[in-house]
């Protein structure tokens, strides 16, 4: 039987063996791609630090890792939430930020060197449900707004049955799952609901943390997913990529034109195309007109300063954005995001030119 001391010795030995490997990252197993040596000695590696929204984090992490490995820079990103990302961006403790809710004019005004927001990708928000035996669920606008207002409370409600003629809807109460924490996802979803329902716009209205009249609250997309998976009769809103990766069933929603649409790249891009991008590149597709559009879609923005005194950082950042807009967009679909439509990419490229160095 291992005595405590022997166990300690084993663990410590393992620890030391591993930390020795950490002292020489260049010689670590190359599977993670950091084998590429930085251009010059340490301290000369260009480092970019970003923080912000958690919604695009998986895609950003993938981009930044691939970009860092190939160019010998180190780009890091941590999801702290859109609000904290904007705060850090204003405080100048990061090199760039990210936000699902863009920035308000007051917030932009507080950045002394000026801020340039550029949409980098987009995503759809789906209504995932847990109904054993129901293979496809079509929800009309009135119904899904009503569910989140607490007006539609049972699954075999006639309004739901009307749009699902072939399905056998159980006599279960609708267990609504909403977000406990403040989030950009809630902001976009509540914004959409406010656009399609006057009652919702009055209360709870558009907010990062709306006071939902009904529903159990779970923390984060992962909390909502866990609740959905373990509660029969549950329905909640999550990001499309999340629902897809976790195998959740998604409802087909009725859009403004009256058509029932699933969330996918085509319907997402149709929604984005219907929202004209103004000069500051901030727009909300709260209720797209297009008949093939999926109704709940949003851009997510990268926050850049208008001026970067460090030329190397500026150049690295511009290259990074360029990579993201070209090769990077190819990765978007696999991870569950909507690639930017071509015209949008062109406008973003133009906007990036206004980010300068020097001064």
């Amino acid at each position: 039987m291992l005595s405590s001391r022997l166990a300690v010795a084993v663990v410590l030995a393992a620890g030391f063996a591993c930390s020795d490997a950490s002292k020489a990252p260049g010689s670590a197993a190359p599977a993670t791609g950091t084998g590429a040596a930085p251009a010059t000695g340490d301290g000369d590696v260009v480092r970019l630090q970003g923080a912000g929204a958690s919604f695009p984090a998986p895609l950003y992490l993938k981009w930044f890792k691939a970009f860092s490995a190939s160019k010998g820079v180190q780009v890091d990103y941590q999801s702290v939430g859109s609000g904290s990302g904007v705060k850090s961006f204003i405080d100048k403790t990061v090199d760039f930020g990210a936000s699902d809710a863009a920035m308000t004019p007051e917030e932009i005004a507080r950045v002394d060197v000026g801020a340039q927001l550029i949409p980098m990708t987009a995503g759809a928000i789906v209504l995932a449900y847990n109904l054993p035996g129901v293979k496809a669920l079509r929800l009309s606008r009135k119904v899904y707004a009503g569910i989140f207002l607490g007006e539609v409370t049972k699954w075999n409600d006639p309004a739901i049955a009307a749009t699902n003629p072939g399905e056998k809807l159980p006599d279960l109460p609708i267990n609504v799952v909403v977000r406990a924490d403040s989030s950009g996802t809630s902001y976009v979803f509540s914004r959409h609901l406010s656009a399609i329902s006057e009652a919702f716009a009055k209360s709870p209205g558009t907010n990062k943390m709306p006071s939902w009249p009904v529903g159990t609250r779970s923390k984060g997309n992962e909390g909502v997913t866990a609740a959905l998976k373990t509660t029969p009769g549950a329905i909640g809103y999550v990001e499309y990529g999340y629902a897809r990766s976790q195998g959740l069933r998604m409802a087909t929603l009725e859009n403004k034109g009256g058509a029932f649409v699933d969330a996918n790249t085509a319907s997402g891009q149709a929604a984005l195309a219907s929202a004209k991008l103004p000069d500051d590149l901030i727009v909300w597709a709260s209720d797209p007109d297009d008949k093939t559009a999926y109704p709940i879609v949003t851009y997510t923005w990268l926050l850049l300063y208008k001026r970067y005194p460090d030329k190397r950082k500026h150049d690295a950042l511009v290259e990074l954005v360029d990579y993201a807009l070209t090769d990077g967009q190819k990765e978007a679909e696999a991870l569950g995001y909507i690639p930017l439509p071509g015209p949008v990419v062109e406008r973003v490229k133009v906007a990036v030119k206004s980010v300068t160095t020097g001064g």
Partner: protein, 309 residues
């Protein structure tokens, strides 16, 4: 009761002379014995029940993350989404660094403060300091992070491992101080008096008698504090952020840059919809628990050696 009551001793010295052992009885029908037996069972049962969560959690970690535990996982950098393999080596180094720095900062300050509170306990400064430490016990971990953001990150202009260590230190210090003070007070007064009677200054008495005797109790407090700090996420998100690169590279410790840590890695990866990341999160949690266990055992070994010296 002596283990061998039938040892051969002289009649006069045998305290059990004349007692017929076959007539001694321990009957559960006696109320006092029954009460004792019931309480024994209750306490044993409750303790066993209390250990159930531990086994449940460790089982959950081992079952969900055990298969990812390998040298590769301990030495590689975090994978990006949809990428296989990878590990959390930099998070281990980061956690060790930040908890280590926090411990180095708080243990001396904490013990010295506790010495002051235990020796000069009645004064106004002592009373106020003790009260301050108690107020800090209920400090939510996220506030420690927010405060350290304002005090350190904004001052230095960047997220850093040092800021993370400071935030952790704020959470550790009340436990260390209050436990150490109680441990110091528990040292019998006559030991101190003996030392002073021999001519020791109060400082010498503290160093040669008080601290060594109270060391096990102080160490308990330190271990509790370290265990807590190792697992805290919220303070680190606002101070040390996270990094997908090594803390130490080319012989240079990047202490003033964002740093990875096991707690934040678990938080990040558990919230992602990719199985690779989720499994790594569980494996990292298992590694974290084992590391703290190792620290505990090391601490106990050190304390035992000190006492028997």
């Amino acid at each position: 009761m002596p283990p061998d009551a039938s040892a051969v001793v002289t009649q006069d010295l045998n305290p059990f002379a004349g007692i017929d052992f076959s007539r001694l009885e321990r009957s559960l029908r006696r109320p006092r014995t029954l009460m004792g037996f019931l309480l024994d069972t209750l306490v044993t049962g409750t303790t066993a029940l209390a250990l159930f969560p531990l086994f449940s959690v460790v089982w959950m970690l081992a079952w969900r993350g055990g298969k990812r535990l390998s040298v590769a996982a301990l030495t590689q950098l975090p994978p990006s989404p949809m990428e296989a393999g990878g590990g959390f080596g930099n998070a281990i180094v980061g956690s060790l660094f930040m908890v280590g720095v926090a411990t180095l900062l708080t243990v001396p300050i904490g013990i010295l403060t506790a010495v002051y509170l235990a020796r000069d306990g009645g004064g106004r400064l002592a009373g106020a300091a003790r009260f301050a430490a108690k107020v800090l016990t209920g400090f939510p971990s996220i506030l420690a992070g927010v405060f350290a953001y304002g005090a350190v990150v904004l001052l230095t202009g960047s997220f850093s491992a040092i800021a993370g260590a400071i935030a952790l230190g704020i959470l550790m210090i009340p436990t260390i101080i209050l436990t150490a003070e109680d441990a110091l007070r528990a040292v019998p007064a006559r030991m101190l008096e003996a030392a002073i009677g021999m001519g020791a200054t109060p400082t010498q008495a503290t160093w040669m008698v008080l601290l060594p005797t109270a060391l096990p109790g102080i160490l308990t407090g330190v271990m509790l504090a370290v265990a807590r700090a190792a697992g805290e996420t919220a303070p680190l998100i606002f101070t040390a952020l996270f990094s997908n690169y090594w803390l130490v590279s080319h012989g240079h410790v990047a202490a003033m840059r964002p740093t990875a840590s096991l707690a934040v890695l678990i938080f990040n990866f558990a919230g992602m919809p990719f199985d690779n990341q989720i499994e790594l999160a569980w494996a990292a949690a298992l590694v974290l628990v084992l590391m703290v266990l190792a620290a505990n055992v090391v601490g106990q070994t050190l304390s035992r050696r000190q006492v028997t010296q």
